[in-house]
Subunit: 350 residues, 2 copies
Amino acid sequence: MNLKQLAKELNLSFSTVSKALRDSHEISVATKNYVQVKAKELNFQVNPFASSLRSQNNKTIAVVIPEVTNDFFGPVINGIESLAVEKGYHLSIYLTHDEIQKEIAITKLIQNRRLDGIIISLSDQTSDTAHLQELFEKKIPLVFFDRISEMIDCPKITTDDYNSGSKATEHLIENGCKQIAYFCISKNLSICSERMNGYLKALKKHNIKQDNNLIFSFTGEEVEIKKSIRKLLACKNRPDGIFASVEKLAIATYEVCAELKLNIPNDVKVIAFSNSYMAESLNPSLTTITQPAYEMGRETAASLFKLLEKKHPLLIPKKIKLNSTLVERNSTKRSDSKDFSSINIIDFEI
Amino acid sequence: MNLKQLAKELNLSFSTVSKALRDSHEISVATKNYVQVKAKELNFQVNPFASSLRSQNNKTIAVVIPEVTNDFFGPVINGIESLAVEKGYHLSIYLTHDEIQKEIAITKLIQNRRLDGIIISLSDQTSDTAHLQELFEKKIPLVFFDRISEMIDCPKITTDDYNSGSKATEHLIENGCKQIAYFCISKNLSICSERMNGYLKALKKHNIKQDNNLIFSFTGEEVEIKKSIRKLLACKNRPDGIFASVEKLAIATYEVCAELKLNIPNDVKVIAFSNSYMAESLNPSLTTITQPAYEMGRETAASLFKLLEKKHPLLIPKKIKLNSTLVERNSTKRSDSKDFSSINIIDFEI
């Protein structure tokens, strides 16, 4: 059954049925409900790509991200894609590989393309955002997510990085850590500074003195990063807790701990931002701050479509913050709460 | 310094310098060497996006893949992208989410778009490939990678799935396994059947009788998959080795083993195809067959560009097979080779 046949069956116009199925504000709630219920009863399947096929024009959104080999950006793309398909848009993917020069080149390139809008998450080298201001001034619809710039007045979708940073740090403190290091990839990045501010707030709340020697911003290759972590953890006076603001720094820490024969969580506890489905199977399982990555993709796309549909500015939220979740696992277990499952308990009487 | 200035400096035409830098066959080897050496001396930086900026036309490649939240497809996209950027092409990404209906809808959709070529890896539901034959007959340049169809006469880039399947199985046998299960996601898929044929070959070579009750093709949701694995591993007569043809089946196995308190590798050994950088940090570290995913992306894009540049058919290989690597870790360790590092050894004299 196609849309035309469904419209005939319901004795409504093609356009009414089509709009009702797309939840258009032009159709009354009663009609929308009627059409949606009937469509379900008649087992009518929407062809997700029908509107693109019909419109023939190449409605395209550019998604500019640092990398694609990442458990966070993958589900974000899924979220963006799910809405793009519903709306009949194509996705073009551009990777900056965390290089500002590539980001600038890409923004120049896509200005010359007939693109409908741009979704972007900044490279970790980006501090000057003149190239993005240019896009904004040319009135190209633009939405930021996760790694945002406060300088540009367009919709921004983030998670509650400040609160999550604070929650992660408090979790380490509550489980006995007294000397907590903060690992990030770049202080330029909004996510890294927000998470760090949350970390500092938690330290203050618990009367732990801020120690700038425990705040690390790692740049460069993996080998270099591991070298720095090794130097830190090989010290006598090493931290007893690590809060990694991105997953790869936690995995590097795991590898260094394995080399140095340091036990996680007994010698050092680790918590990290991560969306990996493998967190549960790591050795030990990793306590994570998990971001609602898919939902973030959906919300980002939804904001962009509001710009494209020229909704009233008041209907377009400037900032949306989604909540992340702390998932407690073994990498932050209290050292005194031994896991008895593997110990033989001997009953005895006095 | 831009290209024009470089050409002036070298006293050559703009077009000669441009072609020499792009390694064009129209320029002599001597001239190419001269230009490349001089460009380096003068510290001339190629703008990777310059050719797109100049050409103004929207040179676009569609990349149709099952999913993007995956440690294999991520680096493949990186490989494709690296060459696309060099050649001045844009990438459009389409996700089938392993649904044949979406794959068909996407192929219809992209026929109506002015696309230059298509790179595809099949959904796990695809057995009939009429929709792709249609693209091929319309002379739309088409290249398959990894999950290919033998039915369509276009370039195909794979890894040595048959040999790797055999190598993985022999590795389990050599480490003491006698009853080895094979896990895959769909027998339709070329990769799954090739890897299975390798598995069967290894069993035969070692005089182990093929047992069809040990060959599993899992479909459906994660919960269902884990239920089936749980049923298998809770049996008294459970397998002592598992060869997972895709990573997610190994992680599901890890999770089920943790629930059932089965020790990997002592109770059951696990080997899997995986490109995850976390394999080393899993509990226990996972023995993997690691595919050259980035190189596969480069080779796939290179084959497509040969089609686009209308190279002589004889210069376009129909099939390229890249070698995967077996990376031995703890999940397949022989049960008799205990790890003494965690055991106190007491010296004593007789």
